[in-house]
Structures are given as C-alpha cells and as structure tokens.
Point group: none
Chain length 215, copies 4
DNA sequence: GATGAATGAGCCTTCATTCAT
DNA sequence: GATGAATGAAGGCTCATTCAT
C-alpha cells in the first residue's frame, strides 16, 4: 500500500508538473499574441501565470526555452493546416498551390507564431540547442514530408517528373518562405505588385519546373 | 583671398563631416563584425570611435540610421558582386546559377552584412521609415534589375520563355533568400544534404521552369 | 506550527515590503529636501537608499509615483497642521486667519513639500493619472472640508452669511495659494510690502466678504 | 565723414543686433507654442532661427534669458488685454469681474504664455536675476496698477470702500491666480463645479468685501 | 560677429537571472 | 517545490553650454 501511494504520488507529481508547464506556456502565448515578441518578458509571464518568477525558472531553464515551446506549437499548428490540405481531394499541382497559399495565410493570420518561428531562424545570435534541434527537426521534417508526398503523388500521376522530391520540396518551401520574408518590400522592391500574385506566380513557376524536365 | 579662405573653411567642414561619419560607421561596422548585431550599442560605438555619444547623435539621428547606413553598405557590396557576374561572358542560365551561388557566398563570407540586411527584413517591430524605404528600394531594385536583365537576355537567346521577367526575378531571389534562411536547419530538416547542393538544385529547378513553358 | 511559520513568513514579507518602500521614500525625501526637485533622479534615490535601481522600480513603478507619494505626505502634513487649528477654541473668523497664516508658514517651513505639491499643480506637462487624482482628491477635499466646516461654524454663530460655503472655501484657498505664489515678487510687484501683511489683508478682506452680504 | 560713417555703422550694428534678437525670439516663440516649454531646446531654436547655436549664445547668455524675454511678451500681451477692459465704459465692479474673466481667458487661450509666466513664478530652482526682476516689476506693477485704478474709481463712485487699494489689488490678483492654478483639480477637489462659476463666485466675494466695510 | 561640432553626464526604464527562505 | 525580492549593467537618447576657427 505504501508503494502504491508512492506511485500515485509520483504520478500526481508528474501530472502537476505538466499542468504547471502548460500554465506557463498559456501565459507566455497570450502575452506573445497581445504584445509581440519583444515586449514579452519573464516577469510578465510570471504575473499572468500567477506564479513567481522563480517558479518559471524551475520549469523552464531560460526564456529561450519557453519561446522554443511556443515555436513548437506554431510548427504544430502549421503542420496541421498543411496536413488538412494534403488530405484534400485535389490534383498534386493544385495541392501545391493550396499549400503555398496556406503558408502565406498562416504567416498573416498567425503572425505571432510565424514571427517566433522566424525568430529562431533569422536571429544571428540564437543557436539551436540540441534539444530544440530535435524538435524543429521533427516538425519541420513532417511538413517537408507532406510536400514530398504531394510531389510523389504528382509524379505517380504523370503530372511531374521529380528525380529528387526531397530537394524539390525544400526548394518549394524555401521559395515560399523567402517570398514571405519580402513582405516588407511590398511598396518598394516589389513595385506595388500584389504579394499574393507574386506568390502565385512563384508557385506556378515551381510547378512548371516540375513538369517535363526534358522538352 | 578672404573669400577663398571662407570657401576653404566650408569645404573643410564638409570634408570633416564626411570623415566623422565614416569614423562612426567604421566603429559601428567593426563592432557589428566582432560582436554581432545585438551587442552593438550606441555607447559602444561611441567608445570605439573615441567620440562622445552626443557626437554620434550629431551625425546620425538614431541607432536605426546607423544600421541603415551599414545595411546600405551591405546592399552596395552585394550589388557590386552580382553586377560583376552580370558582366561576365556567360550564357543566361549559367549566369543565374552563378548569381545564386554568389548570393550564398555573400551570405557566408559577409555574414554580418547579410545579418543586418536581414535585420530590417525579419524584425517584427522594425518598420521601414520612408527614407530607408527609398534606399532599400534603390538598391534592392537594382539587384532585381540585374536578374531581370539576365532573364531577358536568356529569353532573347531563346533559352527562356519569360512572360513576366520581373516576377520571375523576384521569385528567383525569394527562393535564394528563403533557402539561405534555412541554413540553421542544415543538420535537421535538410537531412544533412549539402546546403550548396540544395541551392544548386533550386537554381536548376528555377531555370528549368523558365524553359519551354508549354511542352 | 508549520502553518504559523508560513503565516509568519507572509507577514514578515509584508513588513519588509513596507520597510523597503519607506526606505526608498526616505531617500527620495532627503534628496528632495537637499537638492530640490530637479536634482532628484531615480539613480540618486537608489544610491542613497543603497539599493539597485531595479529595486526602486520593483517597489514603485515610475518616478512620478515616488513623487506622488511624497506629495501625499506633504498633503497629509498640511492637513494635520490645518486640522490642529480647526480644533482650537477660536472664533470662526480668527480660525480662518490662523488657517491662512498656517498655510503660509507651511509653505515656508516645508518648502520642499510645498514645492512638490506645486509640482503637480503647476507643471504644464504632468497630467494626473486616475490613481493620483483620487489621492489628491481625498487629501485636497479634506482640507477644503476643514475650511467649509469653519465657515459653517461662523455662519451658525451669526458671524458669516455664506450661501455656498464650498465655493467660499475654494475661493479662500485659491487666494492663499495665489498669494503664496507671488512670493518671488516680494521686492518687485509687491513693492516691498511684507508678504505676511498682504496675506493678512487678504484674509481680512475675505472674511469681510463673508459678513453681511446685503448691507 | 569718417565719423558719420562710423556713426552709421554703429546704428546699423545696433539695428542688426535687434533684428537678430527678434529672429531668435520668433523661433523660440513658435517652438514654445508648438511643442511646449519642456520640449523646446536651444538647438531647436537655433535650427528654426537658421542660426548657429553659438550665435544664440552671443545674443542671449542662457536659455533662461530667452524664456524670460518670452515671459515679458506674455506679460505685455496680458497687460494690453487688461488695459482694454480698463478703458471700457463700465462700472468699477463690473470692470473687476471682466478683468477676472479676462485673466482666465488669457490663461486658456494663451496657455503657453501663461505657462511661461508661471514657469518663473512656480519653479523652485529658478531665481529671478536682477535684470529680469526689473522687467517683471515693470509689467506686473502696471497690471496691478490697472486694478488699483479700477478700485479707486469704484471708491470715488461710492461703490467701494478701500483703505489700501494696492493691497486689495494684489489680493484680487492673487485670488485669480490661485484659482487658475487649481484648474487641474477640476474633477477632484473642485467637485466638478465649473471653473468659471467658481471664479465668478470669487470675484463676487471679492467685490462684496470691498463694499461697506462697516455695516 | 558667427559658426557648429563636440561634449558627457545624466535621464528614465527594462530585464533575465539568482538565491535565501 | 515555490517564492519574489534584488540586482545592476545596459539600453537609447537629450541638452545646455563651450570654444577653436
């Protein structure tokens, strides 16, 4: 009986730990969405989570780790949105287009998630700690995997001719990501051209590159 | 003689102003290259330039303006490097490949310049002030212009079939930029595939997309 | 026993918090009295309080809040001094005179408190935040209240005929306040007339205005 | 001839000096009105006046001196407005009321002038330099003089009984000034009572005090 | 007379992190 | 496990004044 009590204790402990972590992430997320990346400090997170700052540091060893958890969430959400499209009954080329549009939509509608994903990608100083690396890998690769699948489906359907679908998928994703980064240039370098049109054009171009590689 | 003296004074003033501005930018650049973006503060710039902080603000009205000047330098350098390639005696498709490789090289060899260009592009908070917008426009557009020219040359040579070379150029540049952003994912999402190979692949793909649009 | 220990902890925490706040206010007050309003900065307060600047901000969320606390102290002191006179066994008219003299004395003997009260009143930029408003209201109104009472007592005693004692009280206070502001003009506009005599005259005049409104 | 030339030179010099001084004051005034007291710096004045900062210091030996000149302007304007009322064909009591209202209007419509007059009156640190003292004396006394005259006229007309019209005038002015200082307390201590009503009440009270001193 | 570059102490405020309890 | 007080360097920026030319 004493043993089972200890077991129960351990389990409860674990459950509570998870709850606390969630509680912290919830606070961090709501602040992130409210005030943006720069304006979210640990003290604020603690206040909103109704915990002491020390407690935050007990559950997460740095601010970066909290943001990394949020990034994971963002990647998860992104994946689920892309996944939904992957499962639609569409031709491979149309699917790629929808994926492209979906990523653009995601970057707009979930700007804060997008920003935090970018934060780790674009910040010169921040280095991925191994732990984080694994997570990004898992999520990022899954998204790339969906595109690979789509390309493979297109190849099987005779629409595409892809020799290295993985590289193609990465290229596709890179193109989307790069163009979204250009958002700020809308009125300057992009010469007022609609951002959406340019992205559509890029998707077309990419798809075109997948067709009949030898003419 | 008195007049010429006065003239000389004005000229000297102007020359000295330019020198001071350079002196400040030199200090800022060396700090940027040494310690990175985050660690470069006005106070440090002043210290290294052996000037009072007030003097810095006499020549540049904000930190952003200094960074913007550095960004301009970076864009200038980037342009000159792309420009050199544009003038090489190469077929249009080879030229595009070289441009792509050159951008990747630039982002590696001039990492700090690349970072500062990115700083304005990727930072959620920073908004382009009109003045900066104009500069980015000028430099960014010139680079896009070089690509447009190359695509047009390819079209004229019968290599490409581009209906909207401007959009194609932006797409090309976006692809390069996006893939370079993925650098950090080299060992994870990119599955260990060489960054260079992926970029080469992407360039191939892009060029392929420019050929025979209708098979 | 464990519970009582926890209780003790909380209580001690609270006590220490109060102590720290006092410590900070003490430092701020001593600086204010020593060097005046302009020369009192947060950094100096921290230094004198032997605390880090961050600690100051842990207890007070802005410089204004510290000053506001000091202002409150001043108002409290002022009230207590006026209150003492209110309780003296004097005729209403004599009481008003004593109140007037007391305010003048206060402005001289507690010049720094007077200055800081004025700081919020006369500074063009400073706006009362709601919180501060409430405090000023409470204290200011209590002082006005004492005068109202005195006027009412005079009316009941047949000395005065006040139809709107509140407005009379405000008028009275305004007169005192305005004349004290003229202190600097002593040797110029006031033509060397003793400041005290002028104030006495004004009080006489005010009291006279309260008597027999219709002759 | 040489003498007359020198004379002419001297005169021109003097004229130009005056012009420069005006030019500086114009710039300072326009900045004062635009940005308020705190936000007006010597550098900005210099820029707007299209002069070097050094030149400013050649004509005015400190920032305070410039503001003092502006204060003088304000007093001048105030005097002229009170003066206009003094010359109206009104009974003495009505005239006093109009003067009171006019001061309130002045403090509202010419807030910046009022602020700068107050700046010297209410700032703890600022001491009147003898030079400035004389000026304030001249202008302030003239305004007091107008009130004295009005009171005297009232006395002559049998409306008032003033034994010491100078002190009465100062009292009157003090009351007005003090009440205007209370502006910020409108919604708190003044209990929402209209500022104008209170001032009217105070004027009534004052006038009442002037009548039949012995009942 | 006129200039304007140079100063640098000083301003208020933020924040990730630590550690004694 | 949990707390929250304490830190203090660092951030960007302002400004009256001086002085060599």
């Amino acid at each position: 009986m004493s043993a089972s009590t200890v077991m129960g204790l351990k389990e409860r402990r674990q459950r509570e730990r998870k709850q606390r972590r969630d509680q912290i992430i919830d606070a961090a997320r709501s602040l992130l969405f409210e005030k943006g990346l720069h304006a979210t400090s640990i003290n604020q997170i603690a206040k909103r989570a109704e915990l002491g700052v020390g407690t935050i540091y007990f559950y997460y060893k740095s601010k970066e780790e909290i943001f990394s958890a949020l990034q994971e969430e963002g990647l998860e959400l992104l994946f689920s949105r892309i996944f939904k499209i992957s499962n639609m009954n569409l031709a491979a080329d149309e699917k790629l287009r929808e994926i492209g549009l979906e990523y653009m939509r995601f970057s707009k509608e979930n700007r804060d998630y997008y920003d935090i994903i970018n934060y780790f990608l674009a910040s010169p100083g921040i280095i991925f700690v191994p732990n984080l690396k694994r997570k990004v890998d898992r999520h990022g690769s899954r998204i790339i995997g969906l595109i690979v699948e789509t390309i493979n489906a297109g190849t099987r359907a005779g629409l595409f001719q892809s020799i290295n679908p993985r590289r193609d998928a990465i290229t596709f994703w890179g193109t989307l990501h790069g163009l979204i980064q250009f958002r700020k240039l809308k009125d300057t370098v992009l010469a007022g051209d609609s951002h959406k049109n340019i992205l559509n054009h890029a998707v077309d171009h990419f798809i075109n590159g997948l067709r009949n590689r030898i003419s």
